[in-house]
Symmetry: C2
Subunit: 346 residues, 2 copies
């Protein structure tokens, strides 16, 4: 028997509610498989910060590192200054654990209504770089609060960092039927970073000759996501553009209630982290209104990452069946989670 | 009688075709009004660069400065390395002429089909900052082409630059029925620039107490542009986020064939520049397929900027009438332009 040590960071707001259901489905998926799971809850987020002033200590991080994977709910609360938990906890996890592949599927499931009039088939995946770009925190300001304030933000991009994520994206494209990779950047304006990305895609393509590629400026990409999302297979892009495009991708495929993500360390030098794309949604927190489906689909990605392919498929199949049948029924967070767990149990 | 000295930068690809029609409509709008127009064509763009290696010389710029306004078609051609014309010509004009208000309406006209299933009423305007942010060209790279390459891009934001555009956006919001301003940024990640923007909006709000404000992260803004674009009245945002959101705005309101823009120098220390949001579209250039409507709507913005309010209204009314009646008719660039000019003549 195999035991999975799972670090659980429920976090803030609806994070707590959806993670509970994610864990219930995970239990259901592993029941009787010989694989067991030991979840360890980490007290991280707004409450911890208010109590102790800490976001993520070295000890927290060291302890999280000893786990096989992380399930995260959502981070952020209006009572905490903007950026404190995002930079000090969520992004710190992604950076410290070298989650350089931030994987976000954009898939319109059967039974789900898209806000697009003619969505067509939507089934792509965004490979968002997770450890570089404008997210590095390499900014600063002088004369803050005066009429002479200057505030800079530096996007840092390295050949090392770009190549490894581009290589991962090519491998994913190669494994898919359409074998197509779209680079999204803005190389006509951000010429230094953009040309590094472009040259890297061209160079790595030599190792994946059966993958076709094209390029879109990020502004044009938002147009195609509106008018012809079927054109996308795998998208590779930087940290910030990936943030923007994956929220738009969630919107056209039925909303962030359904959007899953995986922060992957492909070299497995540290645990990967699985989280819904949505935030902590303080306006509906604690009311049982949040849809746990995005978390459950993130659990499917977690199982897949751990090599539990069959279990992963069963979880995704449960969601697929639920989406076809849910219609306009209003269910609580727990109801959706329980029904999904029941379906997984079969 | 008043004479308008107009600098005309048709540029590349379809820019040449659409500007011709824009000028025809401009002539029609001014006929018999006592205001005349003297267009001066500037040979700028890909051909000039191939011939001379020049993008925009000091002499070009000095000459353009003597004009009352600029009408621009489109800049860019695949035969020129990416960034050369964008940075050396288009952005150089915007920066040198201090076009700090890049105004881009997002309006769904009657008769126009949105790709959204339930678009509702869409009538907002994006005030995109035009002279700062990640567009400043303050980047660089070392060890280019080696495995140790580092490529940086610096977003520069100043209190001076942010305040003036925020002030302009508040004034525009105040003049509109809904009096609402949405700041879009990403202050939970880009904390230095983001907090400068946020503090500035809060401070300037004191001078516009009847304007309500809210804030959206850029990723969330792409969701609302998909699910509820009616919520927007005036959006103020930085140069890069504005670039991205205005292409998405064009997509949901019928495409970039209809999206107009104005690069405004509100202090009138240099001529403002009016251009369609679309690019040079080399794939359809020279075939009479381009829709000149975006350019014609940009001409309406030009007339408005020059105080020719009545003439501006007539041009927009001609477009409105055309859009209601055009249906699925396929017309050439010239046909659309001619019909619009005829309508303007009345
Ligand atoms: C909360 C925020 C820091 C985060 C990001 O920008 O990456 C979120 O928007 C996401 O997409 O996971
Ligand atoms: C061509 C390019 C430099 C330009 C921009 O990014 O501003 C264009 O996309 C636009 O929106 O006008």
């Amino acid at each position: 028997t195999r035991n999975i040590e799972l670090a659980v960071v429920a976090g803030d707001g609806i994070g707590i509610e959806v993670v509970e259901q994610g864990l219930a489905v995970l239990d259901a998926a592993l029941a009787g498989t010989g694989t067991t799971i030991s979840p360890t809850a980490f007290d991280l987020g707004a409450q911890r910060w208010h109590r102790t002033g800490e976001t993520l200590t070295d000890e927290d991080l060291a302890s999280i590192r000893t786990h096989d994977a992380i399930l995260l709910g959502a981070i952020g609360d209006p009572s905490v200054p903007s950026g404190v938990l995002e930079r000090g906890l969520l992004l710190k996890l992604r950076f410290a654990l070298d989650h350089y592949v931030n994987l976000r599927p954009g898939k319109l499931y059967k039974g789900v209504k898209s806000p697009l009039a003619e969505p067509g088939e939507i089934d792509f995946v965004v490979v968002r770089e997770g450890t570089e770009g404008p997210y590095v925190g390499n900014g600063g300001a002088i004369r803050v609060g005066t009429p002479h304030e200057v505030a800079n933000e530096v996007s840092v991009n390295t050949a090392f960092g770009v190549e490894r994520v581009v290589r991962d994206a090519f491998a994913r494209a190669q494994a898919r039927p359409r074998k197509h990779l779209t680079l999204v950047h803005k190389h006509n304006v951000l010429v230094h970073a953009g040309h590094l990305w472009r040259r890297t895609v061209e160079a790595v393509n030599a190792d994946f000759p059966d993958v076709t590629t094209d390029y879109l400026h990020v502004d044009a990409a938002t147009i195609f996501l509106t008018t012809n999302p079927s054109r996308f297979d795998v998208i590779v892009t930087d940290n910030l553009f990936g943030d923007i495009l994956t929220d738009q991708a969630a919107a056209i495929t039925g909303g962030i209630g359904l959007a899953a993500s995986a922060n992957i360390n492909p070299d497995r030098t540290a645990p990967s982290m699985f989280e819904p794309v949505h935030g902590s949604a303080p306006d509906i927190a604690g009311q049982g209104k949040a849809d746990p489906t995005a978390t459950v689909l993130s659990v499917a990605m977690l199982l897949d990452h751990l090599g539990l392919t069959e279990e992963s498929r069963r979880v995704e199949a449960a969601v697929e069946a639920d989406l076809v049948e849910r219609g306009a029924r209003v269910r609580s967070t727990t109801e959706v989670g329980t029904e999904l767990a029941d379906r997984v149990r079969g």
